[in-house]
Amino acid sequence: MVRVGILGLQGDVLEHYELLKEIEGVEPVIVKDARSLALVDALVIPGGESTTIGRLIEMRGLRDYIIERVRSGMPILGTCAGTILLATRVEDREVGEVRQPLLKVMDIHVLRNAFGRQKDSFEAEVDIESIGRVKGAFIRAPIIKKAWGKAKIIGRIKHPVLGKIGVAAIQDNMLAVVFHPEITGDNKVHLFLIDMAKGRM
């Protein structure tokens, strides 16, 4: 049994939970404190507002616990807001440099709200290296502008305005996607995370 935690501070926690519950051999767990974080084999940072989730991580003193587990090799998946929280460098298309608290564990440069506002949100399919074609909902989504060091962009889409842009990246045990596979119900990204966790067990 693989215990997959979902950081349950804010956002579409339920969608991740319901998707993971249908995968055989997986026990989804909602993680809201350090104690439950210590018991999971992998962690998902869901979609939601990255500023809110970041603020609550800070208020509850969870930052160091999460970073410690990531550094010790626990596989982690960030979707949309989760990607923003993992990134070392974050900008907003409209506002520029942001002042939100981040985990800063992945060597990627993320641009928030890159496609515009909610009316510009869309659905698209993405080809991701070693995962395959994934259906994703891009909701006020960020993009991955750059990856360096051990981080690597593994998924791109062709956007009519922005051209070819990075939407998925990996760095060791960390996987970041800027879209929501949990909203379209596509479980391939989650299966990849579970395989990473199994590889360590």
Binding site: Q10, G48, T52, R55, V95, G185
Partner: protein, 335 residues
């Protein structure tokens, strides 16, 4: 049944109503490639709303307040010309907020920006969509222009939230294309009593529908639909899902961290705070405390910590609802 299944069902319902599938198939037959990116689909509307869950959306009137809200950890702001409490006191006609104020706030903060339009005011809604507002609240706090009919929200690319006092009212709004529901409560009073009443009424009806479906009484579902002027498909969907088929927030009178936790405990997916924050004397702390209490509503220890961050002496005074004249009630606008 999963919540995302209901989104897919609602998307199909919309496709059916507008024969969009037919059009798409026609394009395919003519050999034209269907765009690989499908923009502003119903799924990304419901999905966007799903991201608000467990969060607080705060009413603001200017950039300064919007910054306070963002720093406190709000999942979004709602821009108004006047806070509901001041709308009550000012009287006259309450309309959508100044578009320039909304635009300035959109370029100041990174979180989603919502705004209110009057019930039935199709064109105010179009303008809000045009300038790029992320969510439109067709709200009883503003003066309605059409008491009989709400806006047809299916034709917009921006999601809508509507207030409701009961399950039939909520399902009628969803049938008109609302992507999100909130309780009406009694806005601008600082009194959460009406929001509690509305949330419990919705919960009670859902439990009733659930009991019908568990006992296989399909006839009772049809009678419920007919008696309450609600589409049968939505009654069936709600019964099968055991909850509202879209995200449901609490609103109307929330003034303290304990109020927010109470509404979450009653089953709300998140809360709107109107006058409660910026009509208090400790808005920064109160905003942070309500965010904390909403996220950790299931942990009384943390809610107590949040409640201790604010002082009752600084809370908004509030209005006794029983002292309001019938014509002063906002919740009766637009059934």
């Amino acid at each position: 049944m999963k919540l995302v299944d209901s989104y897919i069902f609602l998307e199909k319902l919309r496709d059916f109503m507008y024969s969009l599938l037919e059009q798409r198939d026609r394009l395919r037959e003519e050999g034209k490639e269907v765009l690989p990116l499908r923009t502003a689909t119903p799924l990304v509307r419901y999905g966007f709303i799903s991201m608000f869950k467990g969060g607080v959306i705060m009413d603001v009137t200017n950039e300064e307040q919007a910054n306070i809200a963002e720093d406190a950890g709000a999942v979004g702001v709602m821009v108004l010309d006047k806070l509901p409490y001041d709308v009550r006191r000012a009287g006259g006609v309450a309309r959508t907020a100044d578009l320039n104020t909304i635009k300035n706030i959109m370029s100041t903060i990174t979180i989603p920006v919502s705004a209110k339009c009057r019930i039935g005011h199709y064109y105010e809604a179009r303008l809000l969509e045009e300038i790029g507002v992320d969510l439109i609240d067709e709200s009883e706090v503003l003066t309605p222009v059409d008491e009989k009919a709400h806006i047809n929200k299916w034709v917009f690319s921006v999601p809508f939230v509507n207030g409701a006092r009961s399950l039939p009212e909520a399902l009628r709004r969803i049938g008109e294309g609302a992507s999100m529901i909130r309780t009406k409560g009694e806005a601008g009073t600082g009194n959460v009593a009406e929001a509690v009443k509305h949330m419990k009424l919705v919960n009670r009806d859902i439990a009733l529908l659930r009991s019908y479906i568990e006992s296989g009484d399909e006839e009772a579902l049809r009678i419920y639909a007919r008696q309450n002027s609600v589409p049968y498909e939505l009654v069936l969907l709600t019964a099968r899902l055991g909850r509202l088929p879209v995200v449901n927030f609490a609103a109307g009178g929330i003034a303290t961290p304990a109020d927010a936790a109470l509404m979450m405990w009653l089953g709300a997916d998140g809360v709107f705070v109107g006058s409660g924050i910026f009509k208090s004397q400790d808005p920064e702390n109160r905003a942070k405390a309500i965010v904390l209490a909403t996220a950790f509503w299931d942990d009384p220890e943390t809610v107590a910590e949040a409640q201790a961050m604010v002082s009752e002496r600084h809370a908004m005074i509030g209005i006794d609802i029983t002292k309001l004249k019938p014509e002063e009630l906002l919740q009766v606008r637009g059934e």
